[in-house]
Structure formats: C-alpha cells, structure tokens
C-alpha cells in the first residue's frame, strides 16, 4: 500500500525532481543531505524533497551518466558521497530547463484565459 503512494508521487515529481537536482548541482558538487537542504532553502522552504525519492533519483541519474559520485571524507564524521554534474548532465539540464519552461508557459496559457473569464 505504502509503495503505491510512493509510486504516484514519483510519477508527478520525477521530471521536476531531476531538474531540481541537476540545477542545484550546476552550482557545485554536493552530497545528498546538502542537496536536499539546498533545494529546500532555495525554494523558500516550499519544496521539501522526500529522501525516499531523493536517493533513488540520485542513483538513477548516476546510472544515466548525468551525474557522477565520489566518496569524500567529512570532518569528524562518516565519509560522504558527493555528486557533481557531468558534461552529459549539463546538456540534459539544458533540455530539462527548456522543457520546464515550455510546460510552465503552457500551463500559464491555460490558466490565463480562465482568469479572464472569471474577472470581467
């Protein structure tokens, strides 16, 4: 049951989450925890990345070759797995961004006439 819920969530978020990860990594390599914090902070605490989705997404992107991972020691703690964007990932990011812009423009286009109908 729990699994089903998770599934529907990824279906909605999948494309978006990939975009968020790739974009955040463009600003510099980060480990998983820092990545989720950065997304949360940059979105003004609105987007909270579910860790149950984050790690699967990271591994999926890594498998696709868009990001690369490396173990780095942390000060006074366990070693951390740090992800960075690859050249292939940069190209993918540009595609994802333009796709996102198309979608938001399309959604906005759908929303605006609706508003006009309501306003007069």
């Amino acid at each position: 049951m729990a699994k089903e819920k998770y599934k529907s969530r990824t279906e909605i978020l999948q494309g978006t989450l990939d975009l968020l990860i790739l974009q955040t990594l463009e600003w510099g390599p980060r480990h998983g925890y820092a990545l989720s914090k950065a997304i949360r902070t940059n979105s003004g605490e609105i987007l909270r990345v579910d860790t149950g989705s984050l790690y699967p997404a990271l591994h999926r992107l890594e498998h696709a070759g868009w990001i690369a991972a490396e173990w780095k020691p942390s000060e006074a703690g366990p070693r951390l797995r740090v992800y960075r964007l690859t050249a292939k990932g940069k190209r993918q990011l540009r595609r994802e961004v333009s796709r996102w812009e198309r979608i938001t423009a399309a959604v906005a286009g759908v929303l605006r006439p609706a508003k006009q109908e309501v306003e007069p």
Binding site: M1, A2, K3, Y6, H31, G32, Y33, A34, D50, T51, G52, L54, Y55, P56, H59, R60, H63, A68, S74, G77, P78, R79, L80, R81
Partner: protein, 882 residues
Amino acid sequence: MNWRWLRPKRRNEELREEVDAHLWLAEREEREAGRGGEDARHAARLEFGNVAMAEETTRDHWGMRWLDDFRQDLRGGVRMLRRSPGFTLLAVLCLTLGMGTNAAVFSAMEGVLFRPYPMVAHQERLMALSGTARGESGPTGVSWPDFEDLRKSSTLLDGMFVSKITGTTLSLGNRAETLPGSIVSANYFDAIGVRPMLGRGFVPGEDVGSNAHPVVVISYELWQRLFKGDPEIVGKTQRLTGVIHTIVGVAPEGFRGTFVGWAMQFWVPASMEETFEAGGYKLQDRDARWVESFVKLKPGVTAPQAQDEVSAIATRLAATYPETNRGRGMKLWPLWQTPFNHAGTLLPTLELMLAVALFVLVIACANVGNLLLARSFVRRHEMSVRAALGAGRARLLRQMLTEGLILAGLASGGALLVAYLSEHALVLFFPVSAGVAMYLPGALDWRVFFACAVVSVFTTLLLGLFPAMQASKIDVAAALKTEMAGVVGGGHGKAWARSALVVVQVSLSFLLLVGAGLVVKSLQRLRAIDPGFSTRNVYVTPIALNGTGYDAVRAKTFDDELLRRVRALPGVESAALARLAPLEVKSYSSSQIAVDGYVSPPDEQETVEYNEIGPEYFSTIGIPLAAGREFAATDDENGALVAIVNETLAQKYWKGRDPVGTRMQVKGRWMTVVGVAKDSKYESVREPARAFFYVPLRQSFAVSTTLHVRSEGSAQTLSAEVAREVKSLDADLAAYELVSMEEVVRRATASQQAAVKMLALLGGLALLLAAIGLYAVMAYTVSQSARELGLRMALGAGQYDLLRLVMARGVTLTVMGVAVGAAVAIGLTRLMGNLLYQVSPRDPSAFVAAFVAMMITAVAACFLPAWRATQADPMRTLRSGD
C-alpha cells in the same frame, strides 16, 4: 564506473553508508538546533521517512537488480527449505515421482519415435516398406523379386535393405534359448552405417542363391555369452537351425538390429532364408511375400514424393506380372508406424502412459501446492513484515516462485535419475518370454532433458501459483495486527483453495483407477477368450530338421519314429505334428484359392493362409470338427489330395452348402475337402474370425515342424522326456523349449499385461498421493477448528459426533472429487481404444471398483485426523483459543 554495478554486495554497503551519513548529518543539525540525543535521532529519522523503503526503491533502480534479488531469493529459499526438512523431503519426493514418471515415459516414447535403432545412421530418413493388396485391410509382405525390382527402378530412394525377423534355438549353458535374429540383404550393414567390431558385414552377392552362403554376423552379447568373447571368433563355425554357419563378424556393442521390441542376436544373408523360414526357396518366387524392409529417402526427398514413386513402380509391376501382382501395391511407413515390428502397437500404449504420467504429475503438484499453501499461512507473518519494510509485491511473488523453482529443480534432478535408472524399465512391463532378449529403446538425450526442463517450469508455475495468490492478498496492517501472535488464521478463501486441490487430486486418481479397472477387465476378457483350441494339457515344441542333412525321406522316418515314441510316453494321450503352432511369430503358408462353383469378384485375389498338419492334430490340439473327418495316416503322398477348411472359409465360399466332398484349388492343385473344423485363433488372440484351411503335412511336406503333445504330465517331465527321445533319435539335434499352450496365449497378450502393470502401478501411486493430500487437508482442518471442536464437546457433543463431523467433511470432498473424476472419465476412457477388449469404456463395474477403492482410501486417510479431533481436551483448547 560501471564495475560497481556488477558488485551488488559492495553497492548495498555503499547505499547503507550513504543513508547513514545522511541521517548523521541531519541528526547533527537537529542537535545544533537544540534537541537532545534521542530526540535528534528521532527527528532525523522522521525527516528521512521510511529508511528501508528508500533503500529498497533505490535498489530497484540498479540495473542488475534482478540478479541480486534472484541470488537473495535463492539463498532465502534454500534457508526456508532447510528449516523444514520434513516438508522439503515430502515435496521433493512427490515431485520426483511425478516428474520422474514423465521423464521415463518420455524417454521411452522419444526412443520409439525418433531413434528406435541404436547406432543406425540417418534414422530420420528411414521408412518401412510393406505391400498392400486389394481386398485386404492390413499390410502384407513384399516378395524378393518385387523388392529387387523396386531397388533397381527407384531414383528417390537409396540404401534399401531387408530385415526380416526370424529366430533360432541355441543351447546356452544348460538350456535351449530361442534367439531372435534377422534375415537381411547383403547391403544391410553398409545401408545402416554400422561396422562390425570384428570381421566383416556381408558382401554383395551373399544374398543370392539357395542356401548358398551360410555366413552369420553375431551380436556382441551372443559373442560374450556363447563364445566368452573369443577374439579369434571370426572364421569359426556355429550350427544354426541345423546348418553350419561361418561366423564372419561380430556386431558392435550396443547395436540391437532394426526391430522395435527385441534385441537381434544374429544376422544371416537372405540366401539362407530357406533355412530359417518355412515354405522353401522364395528368392525367385514373386508370389511369396515374406520380405520386411526399410528404405532410405535421398536427402531432400519428401515422404509423399517417395510414396508416389513407389506406387508408380508397384503399378508397373502389377501390369507386368498380373498373375501374381494384380491388385498389389507398396506402401511406405514412418518408422514409428512400422507395421511389422512392435512400434505400431507400442506407441498407443506409450501415449496412454504419457497421459497417465501427466496426471500423476498434476496430482503430485496439487499435493505439493497443498503443502506450500499450509506453510504459507505460517509464513504470512514473515511476508507481512517484509511487505511493511518496503518489499514490493512482485518481489514477494518472485520469492515464492523461486522456492517453487528450487523444489522443482531438486525434483528434476531426481526425475532424471529415475529416468536414467528406468532406461530399460519399460521392458519390465512386458513379460519376457523365456530366452528372448527384449529391448525397447529409451535413453536420455537432449530431448529428454528439454522435456524435463519444460515439465519443471510448468511445475514451478503451478507450485508458485497458490502461495503467490496468497501473498498478493496480504494486507499489511491487518496481517501484522492479527498475526503477531503467530496464530494461524485461515480465511474461507484459503480453505476453499485447499479443498479444491484435494478435489482435483481425488478426481484424477479416480480417473486413473477407472482406467486401471478397465484394463484389468480387458485382460480378464482376453484371457477368457476361447482361442478355439484347448490350452490345458497341450504342449508344443519345435522339431527343426531342415539343414541337418535330413531330406524328406529321412525326415519322414524321423517324424514317424518320434511320434511313435512320444505317444508311448506315460501320461501322453496323443501327439501330432504340424508345421506351425497357433499364435507363433513365424508366418503360415498362403495361397490363392479357387472353389468349385464360386466365382471371385474381378480384381480380387484372396490369399488364404493354411497350416500343414499330420494325423491326430485336431484331437491333440483340441479343435473340434464341425463336419467330416480328421486327416488319417493314409492321407499321404500316395493318397488323393485332401483339405480341411474352417467354418469361416466354408461360409464364405460354399455359402451354406456342405463343403465335404467338393473340391478346392490350392497352389494350382485340386484337393477334396474332407472336413470342416471349428474356427480358432491363428495369429493373434484378438483377431476376428478369419478364413483358414489345413492340408496334410505329408502332401505338402516340410522338414521342420512343431510337435504338439496332449499330456496329463507336468511340463518339466514332458520336456525332459521329449528332449531325451529327440536326442536318442539324433544326438546332433538341439534341445528345444517346450511350452504349454497356456504360455503361448499368455505371451500373445503381452501388451495388455504391460498396460495392466503400468496402470496398476501408476494408479496405485496416484491413490497414495491423493491419500497424502487428503490426510494433510483433514489434519490441517482439524488443527484449525480445534476451538470449534472443543466448544462442541463442551456443549455435549460426544466423541462419535466429532468423529462423524470430521469424517463427513473428508468424505464430502472425496465424493466431490469422484463426481468430477467420473464425469471426466466418461469422456476420456474411450481414448484407451485398442487397450480395451470387449469392455465398454464406461463399464460400470470399473467405475464401482474405483469408487470403492477411493472411498476406502479416503476413510483411511481421514480417520487419524478425525480420531485426533476426538482426543482434544475441550478445556485446554478453549482456553488456548483466547
């Protein structure tokens, strides 16, 4: 980078480490924000969400996930099975029986179908050749001249060879053994691509001339048994059927000739046909159809093309030689339908065996499915926990299927062992007549392995199905709540599934029992057939004088003296000579006949078979005469030609007139009919009434005959006495096997006996499996309803009531199974076709017998659980139920 994906263990550790690092960072942050140790960790966990699920779904994205899972499932499965060795053993045993039966039957069937003759090259291109005749339904032999003409004219066939079964008797150790052998064309060994391991095969021309080339190739077994593996054997001589033969070769080990049913022990060229076959020199007789042969299609030639050519040649022969070949044709047969060996009769039996073996397998699967289902209740808790921890449903199903696969895999190992051990077991089903080396092909090869693999996949699916249905219904929350305490909860649905499985088992077992009953009854009917001659107190033994230097004059003297001495033996009532005894492998003489006042339809040439018999034959063998008289000593070469016809022949040609005193023409000679004998069985116990006649031995003399003796004495005494008389008359003659006519009839019903043994064995097996299944379900039901039973007892139900309650449930299931089984049986048993003899496929007595056997088994299987139910202490069961 990619190497990492290939090392699942390392990857798992890394994921775990990564998640731990995440939790550590989160916890540190929470602590910095001012929370205490435990709270911080808790908050971090909360933040993270379901750790196990995150891990599980992350793993899902790994490419080699399935391999990883499979290994894990495999390890888990093995662990599970080792934890309950009793269950594992029972399950594997049930499956081994089911799959082993299939593998064994399949290997036998495959042997008959695809490669009946070990070591023979290009069997896929071999076809059997027989003759056909208008007005005759069955195939006939082919004459040697026709065969030679076909060999010369054919363009689509090569490697045509003759292989006609014959036999001889040899003294091996202290007893005479009848050995099967083949009369072959000279090209035999070249055509089949078998090289003798010592010496040579036959050379061109050795199949020409009357008794011109007394040479023999012996089998490896004969070489070992008779000649102790003498390396200098080639060139030595051996007397076969009275004729000294030079041993020119020894066939390689494992070569068994080209006959489905028996392992050939020697091969002689066709020129020696006269020695081994009755009826004189036949190599130039276009009317003597004795040849059994095989042809090899040239590469790329199809069977229909070859048949067209053969038919065209046969038509041409019929036009060229109308007096012998009018209405005659030739027919090609696939090897598995070869009309002149046991392939054709064996196959339907094997098909039935395969069907039965599949039933046994389904029953075994149902049984193991039942066991798995029972266990799946116990394992529901484990499954629920795993589901709660994030294991996908598909993953759980896969785990179940893997366990099924392990069971099926173990069992298929066992099954192959069973098949290997029973490689020659098929032969055990057939009563081996004394001294005849029986061989039925059945070896393991890739087809058997493939079939075994298919069967085990089928089994796995079947096995995984039930627990899988179970697992897919898991409701995590409910299961965890109710099953924490380890109580085995049985919903209605599962009880129904298990009951259904029992019903399936019972119905299939019932079906097999009905089949067994029908075959047993057929055998009784076959045994009850009146062969037309008496079987009690009548004994036969061959007297083979041909080739021993006996000419007709000496043979007649010998015959007279032998009969005089045998008739004088104590206990002997009468004795007679005839060329052939009934139901023998050798063929009767045959002739076209003409009868005064009978005009045969155009284009029909009926050939009728006949036997050459001496005086006292009918009284000795016990065939009554309907009219006229027996042959007398005066019906000899000096007397007028006479014949005795049987009732069917009399009916057909005389149509109610009295044949006695009228004339019939046999082989161009007119003879007077002096008697009419009652019909009897001539070649097969099952044959319908057929036309047949007898001529006096002295008027169509054959040196080799069969002695018939009617005696009150025991077979052993008589055998010794007759052997002594033969030896005292001629010390060079071999001692022959003396058999009772009862034994002759028994050997003639071999395939029915085989079917009885096979169905009885498998039916018993099915019954046992069904009993196990029934017992398991009833035992489980009782343990399930312990509380209910205790309650009933507390409310005053007596032991007898409880016993009845439980028994009633078992009996209900059985009756349901029987009802289903009976319905199926009514539809299916008619497929048993030629195994049944004068028994309706719906014979009520077989159904009743199967019902009784099934009910007794069911009651026995239910009794122990029912009795245990009555022993329950009501107070304890009620209390423990809380």
